[in-house]
């Protein structure tokens, strides 16, 4: 359940932004969760609900999963990350440190480990709405 740590990061960032923008209440926070990291949305949601501060009492957290798109830097081939092909242990390693994908996955076309995670890595804040 290291989703908790990521939720703390979300709350801390949102609070900082609220401070900076002078928001009294945060209305909505849109979060994108990349599939590569296999974060469990329910756990993330639960953690967020537990970590809520005053300004975040009424906040609606929306979460959207993004597919993990990989692109080979050698042959330009693009493909999607497929968790099902991996062992439990490998999937877990990628869950903690998504870059470790370079240790376990190669370009299906040319075999290179030199690819770019173009989309779908980790947790991102897409937008934050608040009232002043």
């Amino acid at each position: 359940m290291h989703e908790w740590a990521l939720a703390e990061a979300v709350i801390s960032t949102v609070s900082q932004i609220a401070e900076k923008e002078g928001f009294k209440q945060i209305i909505e926070v849109k979060i994108k969760v990349g599939e590569l990291q296999q974060v469990e949305l329910e756990i993330l949601e639960y953690a967020l609900s537990q970590l809520k501060t005053e300004k975040l009492e009424k906040t609606k957290f929306t979460m959207e999963k993004t597919k993990a798109k990989l692109k080979c830097r050698v042959c330009n081939h693009e493909w999607f990350f497929n968790r099902k092909k991996l062992s439990e242990k490998t999937a877990e390693a990628i869950h903690f440190v998504p870059e470790i994908v370079h240790t376990y996955i190669q370009c299906p076309k040319c075999g290179s480990p030199d690819f770019d995670i173009q989309e779908g890595r980790g947790v991102w804040l897409e937008s934050i709405k608040g009232v002043k």
């Binding site: 290291h2 908790w4 740590a5 801390s12 960032t13 470790i100 980790g122």
Partner: protein, 243 residues
């Protein structure tokens, strides 16, 4: 899109009193051996100590300590396991013995991830074993970790020392604390490096002799701590206790 991880790093390290990057610019000067032995030495003196291997493409400290079959706990983040009295964190938990061909952006991203999710909690010292070069890992620590202090390792060779000078110039310019410089693998008794270091306004922390029996103690902490190498590190440790 905002990366939420950056803002939490500060609070993850809040209860760490001293964060010490064992660094050099040059590879193969003994950074990993110094970092490991220093962390063990401080732990023996009853400090709470963490060791974080940041050399993601060629990690070594797990070999020096002889670590096997430990794994971090998952508990509201990652809690580094305790090995030989140290809270120990390395990418090898995730990469195993397999190659991890990582570009700089990936090293940077993995580093941010680990800083954001690792719960070091209370530590007197967090010793960081740095990769060679002045690249993403060094620049990210400078960017993300407040009050980071550098412990610089060199050998007597000009090839190492010229690189170390570059690192020192950079850190001085950025007004980053340099604890001092260790001259490792010393073969003679010359004061050449010591004099240059002091002329440069840095503390010279000591000379560690070349010891060709060191290889035999790789992987055995008790034997490592019985070497001349470890004795010299014990002589240097008080410089850190004073920080």
């Amino acid at each position: 899109m905002i990366d939420p991880r950056i803002s939490i790093i500060d609070s993850r390290l809040k209860k760490v009193n001293n964060i010490i990057a064992v660094s050099s610019g040059k590879g193969g000067v003994g950074k990993s051996l110094v970092a490991s032995t220093l962390a063990l030495t401080l732990a023996k003196r009853d400090y709470k100590v963490g060791l974080f291997d940041l050399d993601f493409t060629s990690p070594s400290t797990h070999l020096i300590l002889g670590i096997r079959e430990t794994w971090p706990k998952e508990e509201k983040g990652i809690v580094p396991p305790e090995v030989y009295g140290l809270k120990y964190m390395s990418i090898i938990y995730y990469s195993g013995n397999k190659p991890s061909p990582l570009r700089g952006t990936e090293i940077s991203n993995a580093l941010v991830e680990l800083l954001a999710i690792t719960r070091w909690e209370n530590l007197d010292f967090l010793v960081i074993d740095m990769p060679p070069g002045i690249g993403d890992a060094t620049l990210d620590l400078l960017r993300l970790v407040k009050d980071i202090k550098f412990l610089i390792v060199t050998t007597s060779s000009r090839l190492a020392f010229e690189t170390v000078k570059k690192l020192a110039i950079l850190l001085k310019k950025l007004e980053i604390k340099i604890i001092g410089v260790i001259e490792n693998m010393k073969m003679d008794d010359s004061d050449f490096i010591k004099d240059q270091i002091e002329e440069f306004g840095l503390s010279f922390l000591g000379k560690i002799p070349f010891d060709n029996r060191i290889e035999k103690v790789i992987g055995n902490v008790d034997m490592l701590l019985a070497t001349v190498f470890a004795k010299k590190i014990r002589d240097i440790a008080p410089h850190l206790e004073k920080l």
